[in-house]
Symmetry: C2
Subunit: 283 residues, 2 copies
Amino acid sequence: MIGMKIGIVGLGLMGGSIASALKSRHHIAAYDCSPEAVAFALSKGIIHEAFSTPKALFLHSEILYLCLYPLALADFIQTHQDDMPAGTVLIEISGVKSEIIHKIDAFIRPDIDIVYTHPIAGKEKQGIAYADAEIFRGANYILVPTPKNQPDHLQSVRQLAAEMGFGVLSDLTAEEHDSIIAYTSQLTHILSLALVESDDQLFDTKRFIGDSYRDLTRIALINETLWSELFLTNKKHLLERVKNFRNSLNKYVKLLEHDDLPGLQKLMRETREKRSSLEAGEK
Amino acid sequence: MIGMKIGIVGLGLMGGSIASALKSRHHIAAYDCSPEAVAFALSKGIIHEAFSTPKALFLHSEILYLCLYPLALADFIQTHQDDMPAGTVLIEISGVKSEIIHKIDAFIRPDIDIVYTHPIAGKEKQGIAYADAEIFRGANYILVPTPKNQPDHLQSVRQLAAEMGFGVLSDLTAEEHDSIIAYTSQLTHILSLALVESDDQLFDTKRFIGDSYRDLTRIALINETLWSELFLTNKKHLLERVKNFRNSLNKYVKLLEHDDLPGLQKLMRETREKRSSLEAGEK
């Protein structure tokens, strides 16, 4: 696809990174309520054009990425859908699906097609100043097609994901998405947060950390607005995954309590093999 | 210090990395029971010289790094101390202290000085093929001085650590060391292992992971011989740290169960600030 008119609503880390990844092949226009974010994006050449209202952006775009936080997303569509031309194609990119789809389905105009996607990429920084097309290179991408989606729109979304550099594209149902993402993404964040929270700070911790602690806690530099919404809108699956994690932690603790060296080594070996089998998923 | 004769027992990842970091300023000789490791180290110029017995190495070294697993360390000293000249200076580098010091204290000859250290650096790979002096650059280093240590020997160890590129050097008691390291190092490993172990593998996980999962689980590519020993020899502190972690995880779970968005955001903010305060500890 050459030269589509792509609209982006929300110039944060993700909106800015998507713009950066597509700007050499397409015309990128954007809307953001922050004049600073817009000015930054224009001055750095991240977008080609900005509109001062969502309506003007809708009218000038063939396809639109909505790069908004989960709770703001449905509100935005509901507030602005009357300004969208018939046949508008929206792509949303949030990290939860069932609750969002359920909510949006209840009110969205039948002549608007919304494609639900999850680019599994990000940074522990927020804002367009950290926008970086490289975060998509080789990364995983999930599509959650609905019966309403037009096949050619799904195809366009897949094509754009490939152009952005994503590696593996998968189709999942909303329920499947929320279950596996509760494990690979939300559980990792809650563990990292709890690890940092559990520091009793009796020591000057920074003098005694190595790469393992640095790596496990980097995502505790969290964007609390985004992640509190992701946790709560995927609560059922996240709590289930926390339960499984606690069971696994208990296995290790029991072996430790029983001074079971061979048992500990065996479980570590099995765990290592499980992790090794993911290496194909390394970027 | 220029031109010391440094001996290294054990040419694994750590022994090899220490040799690499010191070889340009000092003469490095080594002993390892694996002829392959020795041949590799010589052929790559990681060491200048190898001896076929520990005794020969002791006789030709002014100071010796013992780069052995925790359980092998005391055995090695006990077996070979009769071959050590009076005044031998040993440096051990393992990740636990109280139990090791207690064990070695019980039998070590009074005319041998052993300095207990913990270079907080490593890799999820094992073996001399992965030796890399860069792992020490800016890393933290802990010394656990004992009343028996001669001040000039401690000074030499500090000087060598600085030459290897370590950033911050700290003195701790054995108990302090084991408490904080149970948190920053051993707890991180048990959490990473439990995270991977808890994967029910109902999905093709590698298609749905991002950098957060990759970062949190890299250390689950574990060396089970080393880490099972570290866990068990520091069991008391590790179980205490697991308990604290569980309490912190429970705080997050409770907020989630109560749909407490402001509470979740507040705790995330506090956790983020705790993590931010460690940035000075970033390499």
